[in-house]
């Protein structure tokens, strides 16, 4: 299917477990992003990638790891989940054209850490 997809859509895990959230896009967009959305904070950027093998920290990167070995995939790993990482996670992609960098969002993953 064309577009940007995230899996799983819902995940419940326990404190200390490792969790990987998947993101896949079919547009061959250069840029990909991970955000978390929490009440009272809006969307906050966790990590982003400008191209395969290029990743950079966003506003709230602590406790998260990303990789981008292929242009179309951008997985987000919580190495040792904590309750404060309970959130809704959104992946987005963008062509990154200068002056026209609108982002396309996935449907989100609702993560609960018990």
């Amino acid at each position: 299917d064309a577009g940007i997809t995230q899996s799983p859509r819902y995940k419940i895990t326990e404190t200390g477990r490792q969790v990987t959230l998947m993101c896949h896009q079919t547009w061959s967009h250069s840029y990909m992003f991970w955000y978390r959305q929490d009440l009272g904070h809006g969307l906050r950027l966790i990590y982003y990638s400008a191209a395969a093998d290029i990743t950079d920290k966003g506003e709230v990167p602590d406790g998260y790891v990303v990789s981008r070995s292929k242009t179309e995939n951008f997985p987000l790993t919580l190495e040792s989940a904590t309750r404060s990482q309970t959130s809704v996670y959104f992946c987005a992609s963008s062509g990154g054209l200068a002056g026209n960098n609108e982002q396309f969002f996935g449907p989100g993953t609702r993560l609960t850490v018990l």
């Binding site: 950027l45 966003g58 506003e59 987005a92 002056g99 969002f105």
Partner: protein, 115 residues
């Protein structure tokens, strides 16, 4: 820290009325974008206005940008119940660390349009 801040936090109107949301930001930007989020869904891009533009229209949407005041407004005319959603402004700026462009989102305005 948040770059954009929307005002009001919540807005309740009747169908047919106009809805105006405001966004203020702090630093220089390349462009400013507005997104909509329906409950339980991802964000959807509505409109982009570049830093050298003052006003832009798209259907029932009108966006203004005042770079001297570091503010923008989104006007939705003749609102419909289907416009009920959260609306976010996002400012595009170059990251000082990486040199790449990223968006910084505000906390959003929740719009409720009643039939």
């Amino acid at each position: 820290s948040q770059q954009g801040e929307e005002d009001p936090q919540a807005l309740s109107i009747q169908e047919g009325e106009n809805a105006t949301m405001n966004c203020s930001y702090k630093t220089s930007i390349n462009n400013l974008q507005w997104y909509r989020q329906n409950s339980g869904r991802g964000l959807v891009h509505l409109i982009l206005i570049r830093s050298n533009e003052r006003e832009k229209h798209s259907g029932r949407l009108r966006v203004t940008l005042d770079t001297s005041k570091k503010s923008s407004s989104l006007l939705i005319t003749a609102s419909r119940a289907a416009d009920t959603a959260s609306y976010f402004c996002a400012t595009d700026a170059i990251s000082l660390d990486s040199g790449y462009s990223t968006l910084t989102f505000g906390k959003g305005t929740m719009l409720l349009v009643s039939p």
